[in-house]
Amino acid sequence: MSRIIFLLKEAMVSLRRNILIVAGAVLAVFISLTLALGALVVNEILRLNTIAWQEGVHVIVFLNDEGENGVPLGAHDALLADVRTWEEVQYAFPFDKAQAWEEYKELFAGQPELLDIDPTILPASIRIELKDIDLHQSARFKLEQRTLEVRQVATAAESIEQLQNLSNVLNVLGLGMAVVLGIAAVVLIANTIRLAIYARRDEVSIMKLVGASNWFIRVPFLLEGMIEGLIGASLAVFAVWLGASNLATAGEAFALFRLDVSQEFFFRWGAFFLIFGAAAGVIGSMLGLSKYLRDADGTGQDVPTGF
């Protein structure tokens, strides 16, 4: 127990004495992990929005009025029944003129001048949810063949598809960035520990001289690296959480786009990043130490040279 306290004390003393070097390492971990976690948050926001949009209507088919321009009565129901049999379609439902007028009023509630129209000019429509967003082109093609009943086909599918592609690109970029920045954090900690060892090389040689094992010398440096990694990771998680919280508050103004990320996401990834930060600190320290301790064994660095 006294040995553990001694080693912890040694690590804390070293952290205090090399405060500038330590600040550099903490900052490096903080920046690396903030960028990596930030990329994950952006990715999560896109994923959530893609899901939200996908769960809504993908295609709206505006219809010509029945009984006009050769469109027979019952043509809308016949088209709806037909559409429901298509393999691309998950769900389709009718949206008549009265519903269209209600929707119109809701959409333009703040602009009374736009409400002064004849409600009968609004077309009835069929709203379609596709089984897979990728099938939107096939569904559109089939609908456009039905020129008699169909006035216009509107779809949000292209936008959703673009968002999905962006999300995929961000996934790869985010992962790549997290890996590269993670490695950078490890290397930076390794360099910091190497600097710390260099600054304390006389001390280390004295430790070896009085019979300290490599592990006894290593542990304070490993603790030092772990603490640096943990502080950097904690700051990164806090900064990204704070940024995301502010973004979510700002996002409340946009009804169409969700900017909030769940707390569960932060617990999960926050814990992962804290563990990663600590592990990066330990691995960095081990890398920084290994060469020095190997070199310092039996090569004459412990005592003055010359004979």
């Binding site: 004295i206 019979g211 064994d297 004459g300 005592v303 003055p304 010359g306 004979f307």
Partner: protein
């Protein structure tokens, strides 16, 4: 206690620092290694500490062949060998007490043991009143006494001293030698490299003279210079 069998150490560039050296040092002996700079005194000390590998030959310390000692066992060897160097090798950010205690911390001794043992050895070197000072607040002689205290605090059977009086004035050197003599009388084997004539002549202990890495004289109770032929 220490045995060197035909030990040779050749550094890079073919510098021969020890040349076929054979020595047998008994338990409780006080042995001076003397010779001019470059004669190989420090190299022998470092070889006995396994700070350098030998090129040829064998070295036994406390019955163990240290030339074949695996790297991970070197710390155990060093825990049984106290060392004192010319430049004291104290930790500047630790107090006198902490410096001495450090050698016991390394061994994992409990605090209940460390405290009394450190107090005892500080009393031996007459530094009890300066226990809370830092090395920079001490004179050279006092710093060397701290170094001696640190090397002796865990009662090693062997002490290796490399020019321990090299940075000290004659009066202070005598104090250090008295201290080492006291330690030697407790049964600790001491091997000391020096080129201080006065000390060697005054102590009248075993003298091993080196020149160009070779042992040129081994006197049971000699002086720094070889006695003139009768």
């Amino acid at each position: 206690m220490i045995r060197l069998d035909n030990v040779t150490k050749v550094y890079e560039g073919a510098t021969v620092a020890a040349n076929d050296v054979s020595l047998d040092i008994q338990k409780g002996e006080f042995v001076f290694l003397v010779g001019a700079s470059g004669s190989g005194k420090s190299t022998l000390i470092r070889l006995m500490l396994r700070d350098e590998p030998v090129t040829r030959g064998k070295i036994w310390v406390a019955g163990k062949d240290i030339t074949t000692l695996p790297r991970w066992k070197i710390p155990f060897l060093r825990r049984s060998v106290g060392t004192v160097f010319q430049d004291y090798k104290l930790l500047p950010n630790k107090t006198v007490k902490e410096n001495v205690a450090f050698a016991l911390e390394v061994l994992g001794r409990p605090r209940s043991v460390i405290g009394p043992q450190v107090d005892q050895v500080l009393e031996l070197v007459d530094l009890s009143d300066k226990a809370e000072r830092y090395p920079r607040q001490l004179s050279g002689g006092e710093q060397q006494r701290v170094s001696v205290a640190r090397s002796f605090v865990n009662r090693p059977p062997i002490m290796l001293c490399d020019e321990p009086t090299g940075n000290l004035d004659p009066k202070t050197s005598v104090e250090i030698m008295k201290l080492l003599d006291r330690i030697n009388r407790t049964g600790t084997t001491i091997v000391m490299a020096t080129h201080d004539h006065a000390i060697v002549d005054a102590m009248k202990r075993r003298v091993v003279a080196l020149e160009g890495g070779k042992v040129i004289r081994d006197d049971e109770s000699g002086g720094y210079e070889a006695a003139p032929p009768e």
